[in-house]
Symmetry: C2
Subunit: 76 residues, 2 copies
């Protein structure tokens, strides 16, 4: 079972963080969601508590906002 | 070889993030440094680019600031 979902939007900060996260966390344990190309999942991310991207939402409900790429409002 | 150093300062945000990070990253790959009880390493963290804690500094030099617990200036 995946432990986390990584939400990003393709911004430079997001891409850099994505590479770093996937280097740290086994790839089978994290799902990567590009909100720019998958806008249907923006509401899911907001409901989970994502305020900005990139962010990592864990299965325990915690949200780790990693650096700052863009506000979730700006992704819409 | 460790892939990352996790700097924190014992604040609630730090402790929560530490538990999450150690749940995601194999513990043998991350060193945890408590800057509140190990002030000698504050300069090392600042030199690495840490602006606030908790933060994860990777071996490639990238710094992932995770949520926001406290400014590194306030840790001193």
């Amino acid at each position: 079972m995946k432990k986390a979902t990584f939400y990003h939007a393709g911004c430079p900060v997001c891409v850099s963080a994505e590479q770093d996260i996937l280097n740290l966390i086994p790839s089978e344990e994290v799902e990567v969601v590009h909100l720019g190309s998958n806008k249907a999942r923006i509401e899911e991310a907001k409901t989970a508590g994502v305020k900005s991207v990139p962010a990592l939402v864990l299965n325990n409900g915690n949200v780790l906002h990693i650096n700052f790429g863009a506000s979730i409002e700006n992704v819409k």
